[in-house]
């Protein structure tokens, strides 16, 4: 498996088939004298920003509070890697739906018939 080809930017789907976001980054663990080890995947806007523009990412982390707002899924929770990456977590219990729920509660949910 290649991280760049098979993991990065892939669709992440939670235990109930809900679309959680894309793999915006990965976490590697490095130990002296051992090969690097894939610890988990990260979903979240600021992680994505780091790949686009460092200054913007630093600014966003200061404004939004940084690492607490991103979703980290340890590799042990990652199931099948195919068209999507299936992970064994409940998306609503992670920060992945923070913006989704914010938009629902403050905008879309307030329109009649939503």
């Amino acid at each position: 498996m290649l991280i760049g080809r098979d993991i990065m930017d892939q669709q992440v789907v939670d235990a109930r088939g809900r679309l959680m976001g894309k793999v915006d980054g990965v976490v590697l663990e490095l130990h002296e004298g051992e090969a690097a080890h894939l610890a988990g995947i990260v979903i979240g806007g600021t992680t994505l920003l780091w790949r686009l523009h460092r200054g913007l990412a630093r600014w966003a982390e200061r404004k939004l509070g940084g690492e607490g707002r991103i979703t980290y899924v340890p590799w042990s929770k990652v199931g099948k890697v195919g068209v999507d990456i299936k992970v064994d977590v409940e998306a609503p219990r992670t920060p992945a739906f923070r913006w989704e729920h914010w938009v629902r509660d403050h905008f879309i949910g307030r329109i009649p018939g939503a």
Binding site: D9, G21, K22, R51, E100, F107, I108, I111, A114
Partner: protein, 404 residues
């Protein structure tokens, strides 16, 4: 659903969904100013969009990926933002143009200025997306869109000279107004090869859960549906060539366009034209607004789907909910809908390499297509049309804006 019915529905979608503000306006201008001379541009644009739609359907059926999904994965976020921005910008302009078309139809019908209709029209489009399902949007608009066949009836009643029409299929150098000729030619290609068409199609194929069993259906509906659709656009051009061209009427003001059908079909022609314009633009606006939401949601991995309740796909629904009133404001501000439409089509042509080349790269990647990758003919043809259209637009657009 039986395969036969699926193919029939796909072809109806091609016919009923082909004509919209852009193809109608550019066909009317081409016919009124250059007679049959620009029919070839419709043929080139139609062939190109048929090939692209087939590709988007094949990608969805084999890889189960929509186009934005696959592009983000294959190229990474950094590159993906370029086609994302280009498609979003062009789609927004075309959305404004379609709302403009709807409001013009309402102006022709009521006499009330189109500017006043922009917000009510956008509200009606939004309400259908808010309450409707994907099947309703896709099938409903294409069934009603069959009213655009009135152009074919009108063209036949005008008894066009078959040899003249056939001669128009061969590209030739213009006899007069070269800059104008190439500008309209490239606008016609832009109107036919709107990226929203194949992006929408790929989302639809995934939404309908296509698999490899659909490859033949996909090929037939893309090929036959788009060819019939292109025929409707040619019919509109023929009407313009036979009604407006001899009378010396150039379509530079939108009030002149209804004459297209009043001459061959009398009073009924006027109302048929109003209905065709309204339905074609309304249907296109529905699809473009939906496609904008698909594009962003799929690119960022948000929950999406026109069959979900809005609150269950909040960010997805928020995109069309914001885009529609913004696009309507452009029309309400008083910009000429006809000029906006023609400019949007030229902009579409300009953006073709950015929107089309990433699709071509994906279509040649066995990682996504297995053994169903592109042949070299479709690769070369689509690449050539996109690059040439872009270059011509690059030259013709400034000439048009600043006057020749």
């Amino acid at each position: 659903m039986s395969k036969f019915l699926e193919i029939a529905l796909g072809i109806v979608t091609g016919i009923g969904g082909f004509l919209e503000a852009g193809s109608l306006a550019t066909a009317a201008q081409a016919g009124s100013e250059f007679g049959y001379q620009l029919i070839w541009a419709i043929a080139v644009g139609t062939a190109c969009i048929a090939v692209l739609v087939e590709m988007a359907g094949r990608l969805a059926a084999v890889s189960r990926h929509t186009l934005p999904d696959a592009m983000r994965e294959r190229f990474g976020i950094g590159f993906f933002l370029i086609p994302l921005a280009a498609v979003a910008l062009v789609s927004f302009l075309v959305l404004s143009s379609e709302i403009g078309g709807v409001t013009l139809a309402l102006e022709f019908a009521t006499g009330v200025s189109h500017r006043w209709w922009a917000i009510p029209a956008a509200l009606a489009i939004w309400l259908l997306l808010w309450k409707g399902t994907f099947g309703m949007v896709e099938k409903g608009t294409s069934m009603l869109g069959l009213v655009t066949l009135a152009f074919v009836v009108a063209a036949l009643k005008l008894h066009p000279d078959a040899a003249g029409v056939a001669a128009g299929l061969v590209p030739r150098a213009p006899t007069h107004d070269g800059a104008r000729y190439w500008f309209i030619a490239v606008s016609i290609v832009g109107a036919s090869v709107s990226p929203y068409l194949f992006y929408f199609y790929s989302a639809g194929a995934v939404e309908d859960q296509w698999d490899e069993g659909y490859l033949t259906i996909n090929r037939i509906t893309a090929g036959v549906g788009m060819t019939f659709g292109g025929t409707v656009a040619v019919a509109a051009l023929v009407c313009a060539a036979l009604v407006l061209h001899p009378a010396g009427i150039q379509v530079d003001r939108y009030e002149q366009i209804p004459f297209l059908l009043t001459s061959p079909l009398a009073r009924a022609g006027f109302w048929l034209f109003v209905a065709a314009l309204f339905i074609a633009c309304f249907g296109a606006a529905l699809e473009i607004a939906l496609q904008l939401a698909y594009l962003v949601a799929q690119g960022f991995g948000w929950r999406w789907g026109e069959n979900l309740r809005p609150r269950d796909a909040a960010r997805f629904s928020a995109i069309y909910t914001v885009a529609l009133p913004l696009a309507a404001l452009v029309i309400a501000s008083g910009i000429d809908p006809l000029r906006l439409t023609v400019m949007s089509m030229a902009m579409t042509a300009l953006s073709l390499p950015v929107t089309v080349v990433p699709l071509l790269v994906l279509m040649n990647d066995p990682q996504y297509l297995d053994e169903h990758t592109n042949g070299w003919v479709s690769n070369a043809a689509v690449l050539a049309v996109s690059v040439i259209a872009c270059v011509v637009a690059l030259v013709a657009l400034p000439l048009q804006v600043f006057g020749s």
